[in-house]
Each structure stands twice: as C-alpha cells, then as structure tokens.
C-alpha cells in the first residue's frame, strides 16, 4: 500500500497516458497527501499534460519523417553534383 517516491512518479507518468490502474492511482493519492516531492512532481506533470493537450500540437510520424529525410538527402546530393 505504501509506495516509494520513485514508484509514485512512475505511476504518475503512466497516469498521464491513462495506463495506471485504479489500485496504482489509489496508492499514488495516498502518497500525494503527505509527500512534498510527490506532490510537486504530480502537479508539474499534470501541468505539462494540460499544456500539450491545449496546444493541440501534432507531428509527423516516423515513416513520414524518413520519407522527408530520403527526399532531402536526394535533393542535397543533386545540389552537390
């Protein structure tokens, strides 16, 4: 039932991606009440998640990046010829 600070932070990270179980969240909450370090980490982590969600940032996936990289390298070669 009582978890370490490191374990609490790990559960908190998983919770940001909805991957923490209810039991893990319960243990995290318990520690959150009395541990200053856990409280600080949880608040900071939630703030980061909220900022990213609010920004609606998007990105290229790995294949799209590889495709761009290949094309750029080909173009670069052409320039150097």
């Amino acid at each position: 039932m009582f978890i370490s600070c490191d374990e609490a932070q790990h559960i908190c990270d998983k919770a940001q991606y909805n991957e923490a179980s209810s039991w893990e969240k319960f243990k995290l909450r318990l520690r959150y009440f009395w541990c200053r370090i856990t409280k600080k980490y949880v608040n900071q982590n939630i703030k980061l998640t909220q900022a990213i969600d609010a920004s609606k940032v998007t990105c290229l996936n790995t294949e799209e990046k590889q495709f761009l990289e290949q094309n750029l390298q080909q173009e670069l070669k052409k320039q150097q010829e």
């Binding site: 940001q16 991957e19 900022a51 990105c59 996936n61 761009l68």
Partner: protein, 185 residues
Amino acid sequence: MPKHLINPNTWIDKYSDYLFNFTISRVNDREKAKDLVQDTFFAGLKSMKNFKGEASERTWLISILKRKIIDHYRKINSIKGQAEIRVEFNSDEDDDGSWLEKRVADPDYKTAEDNLVNDELGEAIYMCLSKLPKKQATVFRMKTIEGLETETICNDLNITPSNLWVIVHRARIAMAECMEKNWFK
C-alpha cells in the same frame, strides 16, 4: 562571422515537426502540409547561399514556409475562410420550392487570438522538445504527441517497456522544467 550556421543534415530532426505543426494549423490538410514542408526544405537548399546567418536557421526556414503557404492559398484562390453555403429545400413554406441558403459555421473556425496562443504554445513545446537528447525526444514525441501504444513504440525502437518509462520520465522532467522557464513563468 555569421551568428548562425546552416546544416541541412539536421533539418528533419530539428525542424520538421515544428514546421509541420505550423503548416497544418493553417492548411488543415495533412498531405498538403507535408508537401509544403518538403517544398520549404527544397527551397532552403536552393537558397542556402543567401543565408547570411543573421537569423536562426529555424526563423529563416519559417519565413520560406510562410511564403509557400501564401502561394498555396493564392493557387487555390483562398477557399479557406469562406463560409460554407448549404442549400436546402424548405418544404414547410407555401411557396412552390423555397431553396434556402444557410450559412453554416466553419467547425474549424478559430479566432486569430486562439491561433496565436496555440502557435506560441506549440512553439514553446517544440523548442523544449528540440533541447532533449534525440532518443528522449523521439520516445516522448511518439508517446505523447502521436499517442502511440507502449507496445508499438517498444517494438519500433527495440526497447523494453521499463526502458520506455525511464526515458519518458526523464523527458517529462526536462520538458516540464523547460516549459516552466519558457511558458508557465
């Protein structure tokens, strides 16, 4: 001596996500956004000789991209921003056939202020992301921005779930600190 140097070999890693995010919020079309980012890199290569190093590479690339986006809208005759006109037949009216034109709100409509805040926040996030070590940035991007499953990332990058969570943890600490300095303060 120029203040900033140019290195096209690092463009994809450093700027592709930032440029893509900037573009997609303006063109709302993933394929078009990718094309515009690629055109920007190609144009950058062609005009590399003109880079004086007074602005950063990123500022220089974004100025090229902005011109590309303007050209794109010129080409399609600026369809974006016009209200959608839906024509409906109104059978309740006595008139024999009253076709109504309804102005429908654009679901993607955002105010200039919303766009500005989102752009600035997105810029802060990508700036912080660019400061992370490459592996941390990749894992964080895949997990947090792309929203991929842990298993998928582990298979793609050939890492264990425990490795992934250690990397995510370190990345989140660095991101939170960077955002604290550059956005939340």
